[in-house]
Amino acid sequence: MSRSFWLGGCAASALIICGPAMLTAQEDPAERSLVINGEIEIVTEADAPAHLENLSTIRSGWTFRSPETQTMQMDDFDNPATLGVEAARAKFSSDLGNGESCASCHEAPEELAGVRAVYPKFDESAGEVQTIEMQINECITDRAGAEAWDYDKTDMINMSALMSFVSRGEAVNVAIDGPAAETWERGKEIYYTRYGLLELSCANCHEDNYDNMIRADHLSQGQVNGFPTYRLKNAKLNSVHGRFKGCVRDTMAETFSPGSPEFVALELYVASRGNGLSVEGPAVRN
């Protein structure tokens, strides 16, 4: 009697100790694979690009989230960001204020498939590196002759989400050489610069400590391939620069503004750290 009791106790304690290691591939968030709508395969883990010295593997933020959050992204019906995409679709063919619309030049958003994967990129005519938001505004002002949208407001974030949406599954491939090199170097410098009263650089959390907990939050590598992301925290789509701003603010620093040259450079650098992952936006994160 006492022997079987002792055995039972052993089995129970063994289970507790072994618990985390015994997760199956299906249960371990980092081991699941992301297929959206059962058809779009997303690369969530890849070899780090050559320029990245301190990491050997790059991982999408999706691999760090809980299974419930991950699942929301596997079906567009469950992904709340789809509402923003639909709003942008309507906007795409609606009047920009002077009779022109996106659809005046581009027949359908799908025509722009793949575009998101190479942004930010150097624009010859502008003579600077442009984010997709800057490109959208260039279209709106220069080509359509309408009034520019705010960089970090709903219309722009939705349109940026639509651009990601039609490019999902394409490999991120931003150019870091040639005319973009200078901006890329600047972005890299910002990435490794400690800001704020807490004296934290991007790298302190997202390179040195990814996969660790920062209080209750599971630190990711800070990849931007899933942006704009629908955050459960604020129940809306968030832009890359909005997220940068939040991060810098959390170091207790004065932040750069969304759309500022500093954030454009940082976005180029951070995007290049994700070269090889799939465009995944609009993603769902916590």
Partner: protein, 109 residues
């Protein structure tokens, strides 16, 4: 007044008799709780969807009372047993008196 309210539902178009199917619904709605204040400090009036009903061939499947703590764009997923061909109807009731309706056919065969 609620703006841009669009109901969306996903229902399988066919099922076998007695099969339990999964139904997903989502309605875009700001679900203003009535607890928030605007920049000038005035209370933003409550404006939510307060009831959601799904019925199959007129028989209630689920009837939900919704409260202000429910977040924006309420999403419901539930299961229902489908005994025969028919229509699954969905109705959302807004605080402002608006009623939003959607329905889908399910064929048993």
């Amino acid at each position: 007044m609620a703006e841009n309210v669009t109901p969306r539902v996903r229902v399988p178009s066919s099922a076998s008799a007695g099969e339990t199917v999964t139904i997903k619904t989502l309605i875009s709605h700001q679900m203003e709780s009535g607890q928030r204040k605007d920049d000038a400090g005035n209370t933003i009036p409550r404006s939510i969807i307060n009831r959601f009903v799904a019925a199959f061939n007129g028989e209630t499947v689920i009837d939900v009372t919704m409260e202000p703590a429910i977040s924006t764009n309420p999403y419901f997923e539930f299961q229902a047993k489908i005994p025969e061909s028919g229509t699954m109807s969905f109705t959302w009731y807004d605080d402002d008196g608006s009623v939003y309706e959607e329905s889908k056919e399910i064929t048993v065969g």
